[in-house]
């Protein structure tokens, strides 16, 4: 498209700070979220860098013990509640859901804007807690440590997380209603892109799980503030009840982080293999199965906490069962490559990297579901390695793949391909070097959240810190070239990848109303090979 006759799009439809802060356009709200979570990601990364520096030597010499405890706590809180949970849903889900189903916006645009403000208020409380001394309970807030023993700013952090929860709830409600009622003519349930199915499952978890963590955090806050004793053994309260309520949300929350990434991978693999997805209905169904089963396995975080043997067995068998739908997805993606016509642009590299890392993360999850083995590796670096493979190797790889894949659509600019491929390689190598040694550390018995550790664990910790520095570069490089591309990148056409999907049939970036006319859908999802390039 010629620059001179540049069309009106959502970015240049209106100008000024006011037009952004009061916008109800899902695409602009997605950009607001993108900026906020990027800031939170960088904050969480700073904490991670300090943690890895401290662990370079066995003695606790870089920071004090209290400081270290605050660092890993705030790393967890910021990365989970303020980066990973909103990452793909609030940025890419927000941007793409209406486009993918052929709608002009989400069902409740004002609620959508409200959810961003709620997120910002929650983030403000949490940042305030960080500035006024931080919090040292671990992101899990286990009682009675968090209610009676900790001398840090638990209350402000709890309020921050409580508030941010409502941002998730509002987003979930909005997505579910939008997917149910706003689909374009012809966009039947089984023509929906798998990205949409993944977000539907994610939203279910958001609306069913988040209220429980909200009320749990509320009880925690009340107990901390007024000593009401719900989790205090001195008054007959049960500290283990907190763990049950906490993990009832926080285990499914893992699926809030990983399911959207799985949706992203389905989009990217089909596009760059030029293949229709193998086993569409099985992938869609497995998303829902994960969402449902995910609510029944929380007890596997508590195999060593005085749980009865029978309860532990039930949670164990269900935890193995929830691994099956994930395996089904991996096999289906692999089969999609068969007889494809595959190219290896950066998003594809991130997606293939996702498959590799998620497979390792998922398989090591089985180790933790196996009762007798979990007793040994529970609360060790094995667990740390496992959930980083899922949440960083999986969720974050998916997020980076998605940002690259839809960057032209969001900004109207192409990023430079060569550094993007290099960054994908750096992230993959750096990640494995950081976290694979931690599996070994865990089986050796190094407990997590240790500020100082016995000397024999040092070699593996040095490897891990080395890997982390490579990983850090892998994250910084995209930040540079993506910002660079906003001014200097090649102008993107409507469908730079030759991808199927309604979002590619409108301009890049799309106009405020998304489509010139409501699109009518006549094909199944991923109708590769594309018939002809068409732009509505």
């Amino acid at each position: 498209m010629d620059r001179a006759e540049k069309a009106v799009d959502y970015l240049n439809a209106d100008y000024g700070v006011r037009s952004w802060l009061l916008t109800r356009d899902h695409k602009r709200i997605a950009i607001l979220y993108l900026l906020s979570i990027t800031v939170m990601f960088m904050l969480g990364s700073v904490f991670a860098v300090l943690i890895r520096l401290e662990l370079l030597t066995p003695a606790g010499d870089v920071v004090q013990a209290d400081t270290y405890n605050k660092l890993f706590t705030m790393h967890g809180i910021v990365m989970i509640f303020f980066f990973l949970v909103p990452s793909i849903p609030a940025v890419l889900g927000n941007f793409l859901l209406p486009l993918m189903i052929g709608a002009r916006d989400l069902a409740f645009p004002r609620l959508n804007l409200l959810s961003w403000y709620v997120y910002m208020v929650g983030a403000a409380f949490t940042l305030w807690a960080v500035i006024t001394g931080g919090v040292d309970t671990g992101w899990t807030f286990y009682t009675p440590y968090s209610t009676t023993a900790s001398h840090t700013n638990v209350l402000a952090t709890a309020v921050g997380i409580f508030i941010t929860g409502f941002s998730s709830i509002l987003t979930g409600v909005n997505f579910i209603v939008t997917i149910h009622t706003m689909r374009a003519p012809g966009m039947t349930w089984f023509r929906l892109p798998l990205f949409v199915w993944a977000h539907y499952a994610t939203s279910l978890i958001m609306i069913l799980g988040t209220p429980v963590i909200a009320i749990t955090i509320l009880m925690l806050g009340l107990e901390r503030a007024f000593g009401i004793g719900i989790f205090d053994p001195a008054l007959g309260g049960d500290p283990i009840l907190f763990q049950h309520l906490f993990w009832f949300y926080s285990h499914p929350a893992v699926y809030i982080m990983i399911l959207p990434s799985m949706g992203v991978v389905s989009e990217i693999i089909t596009c760059f293999a030029r293949r229709r997805i193998f086993g569409y209905s099985f992938i869609a169904a497995s998303s829902l199965a994960i969402a449902v089963f995910g609510f029944l396995v929380w007890g596997h975080h508590m195999f060593t906490s005085t749980q009865s043997v029978y309860a532990a067995m039930v949670f164990s068998v269900l935890s193995f069962a929830v691994a099956v739908p994930s395996a089904v997805k991996v096999f289906n993606w692999t089969a999609t490559l068969y007889r494809g016509s595959i190219t290896f642009e950066a998003p594809m590299l991130f997606a293939l990297g996702f498959i590799g890392l998620f497979t390792i993360g998922g398989l090591t999850g089985l180790f933790l579901a196996a009762l007798g083995l979990d007793v040994h590796v529970h609360d060790t670096y094995f667990v740390v390695a496992h959930f980083h493979y899922i949440m960083v190797g999986g969720a974050l790889m998916g997020y980076l793949g998605a940002i690259h894949f839809w960057w032209p659509k969001m900004t109207g600019r192409m990023y430079p391909e060569a550094p993007a491929r290099i960054s994908a390689a750096l992230v993959f190598v750096g990640f494995n070097l950081t976290f694979f040694p931690q599996f070994i550390l865990g089986y050796l018995g190094m407990p997590r959240r240790y500020h100082a550790y016995p000397e024999e664990f040092q070699v593996l910790n040095v490897m891990s810190t080395t890997g982390a520095s490579i990983l850090g570069v892998g994250y910084l490089v995209p930040l540079c070239y993506l910002i660079w591309s906003l001014w200097r990148g090649r102008v993107a056409e409507a469908n730079p990848w030759g991808a199927a999907g309604l979002e590619w049939r409108t301009n890049s970036p799309p106009p405020t109303e998304n489509f010139a006319a409501t699109p009518i859908v006549e094909e199944e999802a991923y109708a590769y090979p594309l018939k002809e390039p068409e732009v509505v």
């Binding site: 579910i176 069913l208 009401i228």
Partner: protein
């Protein structure tokens, strides 16, 4: 009808799609509310079964008469709310306003009685925390009052929000925003109000009546 097209937001194709979306929206939202109260109910049921004696003894210190009165008040408010919804469906502006105002008044009476009950708990030193004092009782009775305040408090917050929503609806009705074709906000407000009611229908027997001889 020009007034009708103006009430359809730009993202919707027509009024029916808008109505479907907002109705589904409120139902999904109520599911999240159930999950939220569910956390508290779970804690209550678990502790009640662990310490049945302590909880039964503590619940004797609640004023069942006032609780019953409040139940009647709240049930009546559901009736007036239903009448308001009905009036809005047939396009009766003043019927809608009257139903809503009666509902608001009843809601405020409920909150007033609740406030009185809270105040007397303060006087009797039955508020959990450093000043809690129930002579001769087991320590778990404090747990009962913690849950009592948490559950009825969360319910009262919902009532306050509900009164605010209804007041907004009154203003909208007075400004002729509703007619026989467009009255969805009243229905949604009604669903929310009924939900808050139903929560109380569970709270009252659980807290006031169970174990009372």
């Amino acid at each position: 009808m020009s007034s009708r097209t103006s009430t359809v937001a730009h993202q919707f194709d027509d009024a029916e799609q808008q109505r479907n979306a907002s109705t589904l929206g409120i139902w999904v939202f109520l599911v999240t509310e159930i999950m939220m109260f569910g956390g508290l109910f779970t804690a209550y049921v678990l502790y009640r079964s662990s310490y049945p004696e302590a909880f039964a003894a503590a619940s004797h210190h609640l004023n069942a008469t006032l609780g019953a009165a409040n139940t009647i008040v709240l049930l009546s408010s559901s009736l007036s709310m239903a009448l308001a919804v009905r009036a809005s469906q047939v396009g009766s502006r003043w019927g809608t306003v009257a139903g809503l105002v009666v509902t608001i008044v009843l809601g405020c009476i409920f909150l007033g009685v609740k406030g009185y009950e809270y105040a007397s708990k303060f006087e009797e030193n039955l508020v959990p925390g450093p000043f809690f004092d129930l002579p001769g009782a087991e320590p778990q009775s404090e747990l009962f009052f913690s849950l009592y305040f948490a559950m009825t408090g969360l319910h009262a917050v919902h009532m306050v929000i509900g009164v605010g929503v209804l007041a907004t609806l009154v203003v909208m009705a007075l400004r002729r925003r509703f007619d026989a074709d467009y009255h969805n906000p009243v229905e949604i407000g009604g669903l929310y109000w009924h939900f808050v009611d139903i929560v109380w229908i569970y709270l009252f027997p659980l807290l006031y009546l169970l174990g009372r001889h």
